[in-house]
Every structure is written in C-alpha cells, then in structure tokens.
C-alpha cells in the first residue's frame, strides 16, 4: 500500500520496466519517476530503447516485465484511462492529409470524448495558439512541414492531457518554427501544468528539460538536471589541431599522462583548468599546434561520455533515414 501512495505522487512512474523482442532485450530494467509539471528529457542513441519505452508508456506495446503508471493508471491494465491522460506528438507524421486541419481536430475531439459544448471553443483556442486558425479549412496536404507539426501539437494538447509526449517534436524544422513550437509548449505547461516527456537530438532543446534521463543499451545510465550532467564531465574540453596528430597524441601521453581522443582531424582532451593550462602547454609542446579551442562541457559531452556516441551523429543518420522514407512516400502518391 505504501508503494501505491508514493507512486501516485508522480505523474509518471516506471519500475523495473523490461521489454524483450525474442532474444533481443530492448529495455532492460528501467526505473524512473516524473513529477507533475516537469519537462523530462529522455535521451539516448538510436536503438537504445527510447522508442520502446515510449511505446510502452503510451500503451502501444506491453512490457515483458515491470510496471509503469501514468497519472496513477497502470499502462497495461488501465489502458483507456492512460490514453485519455496523455497527448502524443509522434516522430513521424500522423495526420489525415486528405482532411482539413479542422476536421483532423474534430476527429480527435470526438475520440477523446470532449463534450460537444466545449469542443469548438477548444479547437479554436488551440488553433489560434499555433496560428493556424486562418488555414483551418484547408486540407492538411497543402500545409508546410512546420504547419503540420504545429497542427499535431495543437491536436496533442486539445484534450488537455496531463502528460504530453513529444517524440522529436521539431525534427527537421527551421529554427524559427522550432522556437515558436517551444513557446506553445512552455505556455501550455504554465497554464495547465502539463507534464512534458521529451525526446530530442537537439541539445538546446534538451537544455530546456528540468531533468534528463540518458538511456543506453536498454538501461538508464544517468538521470539528473542538465547542469549536473554537464558537471559530471567535470573538466574543460580542449581541442587542438597539429601538423602531426599521431605524434602529438604520443607526446600528450608521455608528458601529461593525458589520453587524447584522435578523430583524425583533431585531438580532444580534458583538463581541469583549461584556461590556465593552455599558455604553458603551447609554449612547451614539441609538436606544432595549428589551432586551439577551449570550451566548457556541454550536454553533448555528457552524452558522449555516457554513451560513447555523439548526439549529432545520431541526428544526421536519422535525418537521412526520415528523408528517404518521406521521399518513398511521395513517389507512391
């Protein structure tokens, strides 16, 4: 009983969640809790178990073991209540392009059981929020990518969900549109106390999260505020370019006992006080240094340290995949 009471305090509560696809363990004992009104970032390389976890939380698939509740409802045994409590903006488009924006929202309002009285008023409100009221009667197929995304966000918020899942909500959108979309999200959170569950490959977006969980190989490898995650990397990051990186790496090891990462082009290493270290380092270094960069650790670095991948690489490969798919779809039209 005590367990249930603590679980109810959290809007999302996940305990030892596990999902196997045959031999493959996609999610391997994941536990975390999200407080109401939080923006919770969920990051990880592709194939780390992110999508599987989200699919379990939004009732699309059943876990092999473990338990998860949303808004106090069990995702396996109280599916209908969970579905009513959440809004989703998927990575891939999920609009009916043959219908108008208004018709898409009316469909949503009906299946989410919004009373007829408030339905039209609510639709007008969210359409105004995402600035699509003027285009409401146009077919979605005539919308731009950014407009479609905005419509999906409006739809996700239409039934005032307790939790809004945003799976790569701004992927492939221009910075201006991304900013606008974030304005709506923040606005909604302020007004309704909506909890946001976010996955993203954009670091600036992840920075907006109150807390971030990093998942890798089906396990949570870190869970903290963006600030604390960055300080886990601890040291300053120096990137140098020399006329012989291989030789320079050897020298680093001998002289400073520093293991530098060589990506072929540049050497990257970490030191505690970068600004103090650099002047004497360059003066005394045997290999000619062509360029130097010094920076404070970013979320990217934390991500790299924890998972061994860069977030950006993932993003690039992902975009190509998405583009190929969308291209394929267009061809079939």
């Amino acid at each position: 009983m005590v367990d249930d009471i603590t679980m109810a305090d959290y809007i999302i509560s996940v305990e030892n969640l596990e999902k196997k696809f045959g031999e493959l363990v996609a999610v391997n004992g994941v536990s975390f809790s999200v407080e109401p009104g939080e923006i919770f970032g969920f990051l990880g390389p592709n194939g780390a178990g992110k999508s599987t976890t989200i699919n379990i939380l939004c009732t699309l698939i059943k876990p092999t073991a473990g338990r998860a509740t949303i808004n106090g409802f069990d995702v396996v045994h109280q599916q209908s209540h969970v579905r009513q409590s959440i809004g989703l903006v998927f990575q891939d488009p999920s609009l009916d392009e043959r219908l108008s924006g208004l018709q898409n929202l009316r469909f949503h309002a009906r299946v989410y059981n919004l009373p007829a009285k408030i339905r039209e008023q609510r639709i007008e409100e969210v359409l105004n929020m995402v600035e699509l009221w003027d285009r409401r009667k146009n077919r979605v197929s005539t919308y731009s990518g950014g407009m479609k995304r905005r419509l999906e966000i409006a739809r996700g918020l239409l039934h005032y969900p307790r939790v809004l899942f945003l799976d790569e909500p701004t992927l492939g959108l221009d910075p201006q549109t991304r900013n606008r979309i974030w304005d709506y999200i923040i606005q909604m959170r302020k007004r309704e106390g909506t909890t946001i569950f976010l996955t993203t490959h954009y670091m600036d977006e992840a920075e907006k999260a109150d807390r971030i969980a990093i998942i890798d190989h089906g396990k949570i490898v870190a869970l903290d505020t963006p600030g604390k995650l960055k300080s886990m990397v601890g040291k300053d990051i120096i990137t140098i370019k020399t006329d012989d990186n291989h030789k320079a790496a050897e020298e680093m090891k001998e002289r400073y006992q520093i293991e530098a990462r060589n990506d072929g082009e540049e050497l990257t290493f970490e030191v505690a006080k970068g600004a103090k270290f650099l002047p004497s380092f360059i003066k005394g270094f045997g290999t000619t240094v062509l360029s130097v960069r010094l920076r404070r650790p970013s979320l990217d670095d934390a991500f790299l340290k924890l998972t061994g991948h860069e977030i950006r690489e993932e993003e690039a490969s992902f975009n190509i995949k998405t583009m190929a798919r969308q291209h394929g779809r267009r061809m079939r039209h």
């Binding site: 009513q84 009916d96 043959r98 009906r110 989410y112 077919r139």
Partner: protein, 262 residues
C-alpha cells in the same frame, strides 16, 4: 455510449474522405460499367436469352452491382493499410476508444460507400431495359449492405495481418478478380466443371450476388440461376443466412485482430 461514439467517429471520417475524393467514385464505377455495357451489349445479341425473358446484360446486371459492392467493400482494408502507411493509424491506436469499435466503424464506412456506389449502378437499370419497382430497390439495399459488411470485415481482417502496402495490394488483386469471376457475375453458378463448381460454392461473394439476382430478376424457385448445395436449391433466405454467418465470423475476427494489433 462511448463505443457508439467511436464507431460513429471512425465511420464519419471514412465518409468524409470518400466525399473529398470524388474521383475515387468515378474510378470505381468505371470497371463495373465497362463490363455491363461493353461486355454485356457485345455478348447479349449472340447469347440470346439465358432464362425466361432475361438476356445476358440483364442477367449480369445484379452481378455487376455485387461486383461494385465487393470492390468498394475491400476498400475498408485498403484504408487501414493506407492509414498505417501514412501514420494516421497511430492516432487511432492511442485514442481512448475500444479498438473493436474501430473495426466496426471501418466496416460500416465501407458498407455505406458500397451502398452509394451500388445505388448509382442501380440507376442504370432503365438503360438496359429493366424497370425496377420501389419494393425491389428497397429489398436490394439491405442485401448490398450485408454483402459489403461481410466482405469489408474480411478486408479489414487481412489488413491487420498484412502490414505492407505493396503486399496488401497484391493480395487484394489476387482475391478480387477470382472472387468476382467465380461468383456468378458472368455466368450462372450451376452446370460448371466440378473444380469450378467447388470454387464458386466456397466463394462468399456467390452468396452475396445470388440473392441480389434473385430479388432483381424476381426469379422464384427452380430458376436456372440458383445455387444448389448438396442437392438443396438455395432460397433467398438460405443465401442470406450463409452470407450473414460468414459476415458474423469475419467481423468478430476483424474486431479481435484489430484489438491485438500493434
């Protein structure tokens, strides 16, 4: 109440889509009309009367209505695969409505569209020298709905199992034309070679088209167009019972399959 709302919403969307896409209407009526007028007129003169006062075109007319119903009923399955391909199915699957009601809504949507298209074909009756009474027309409508619902459920059942658009289209083509050819659209279902006789008898479309023909041609017992099953000549109600039984099994399977699909 909740379930009714789900059925209505799913149904309404399919009707809206149909309404937005008027070319689909023209497109799906093209084949049946081609068969009726080109095939029918071409063969009518050389074939003479197939039954008392019934020439080939008139014989084929109820079959062509059934063929139209069958083709638009299968569109229910196509629309499920289509929704999956374009992502909209996800919006439906995470919605707080019973999944089984989605299957029913889709089936009813297909039945409604099939009914509209069947009625359009009915309007061509005077052109082939048939005059249908209001009572005849009113009796055909429920038969068309039943046939569309039964075959629509079959389409949905297949759509929940076959996930890719390409595979589904291929399977649909493999089903559609044999089902049409082996259902008595173009020739009476009796007096066929035994292998064909077997296929005609196990084809659910046969039990949709035959009663439509029985009503439109007003043929009583002993007509050369009736089905004989195990020595028993199938009456209108016998046929309807077979089709309804098939339909009930299909809709239950479709509802179940939709509920467990990911």
């Amino acid at each position: 109440m909740n379930n009714l709302r789900g059925v209505y919403t799913i149904w309404y969307r399919d009707i809206l889509r149909f309404w937005h896409d008027k070319m689909r209407m023209v497109g799906s009526l093209f084949f049946p009309l081609l068969f009726l007028f080109v095939f029918g007129s071409g063969l009518s003169t050389s074939m003479g009367l197939l039954g008392p006062g019934v020439d080939f075109t008139q014989f084929m007319f109820p079959g062509v209505i059934g063929m139209t119903v069958l083709m638009s009923a299968f569109m229910a399955g196509v629309s499920v695969v289509w929704d999956r391909e374009f992502g909209f199915l996800k919006e439906v699957l995470v919605a707080p409505i019973n999944r089984a009601t989605v299957a029913i809504g889709k089936t009813l949507g297909a039945a409604t569209i099939a009914l509209i298209q069947g009625i359009v074909i009915l309007l061509f009756a005077p052109l082939i020298g048939m005059s249908l009474s209001l009572l005849t027309i009113l009796s055909v409508l429920p038969l068309m709905i039943l046939m569309a619902a039964a075959l629509g459920s079959l389409g949905i059942l297949m759509a929940t199992r076959i996930k890719s658009m390409e595979a589904f289209q291929m399977v649909m083509q493999l089903f559609t034309f044999p089902m049409i050819f082996l259902s008595g659209v173009f020739f009476p279902p009796e007096g066929l070679p035994s292998w064909m006789n077997f296929l005609v008898k196990i084809n659910p479309a046969t039990y949709g088209i035959t009663p439509i023909r029985q009503v439109i041609l007003g043929t009583g017992a002993g007509s050369p167009f009736d089905i004989v099953l195990f020595g028993h000549t199938m009456t209108l109600w016998n046929n309807v019972a077979v089709l309804a039984a098939f339909g009930v099994v299909m809709i239950i399977l479709a509802m179940w399959s939709f509920s467990i699909q990911k």
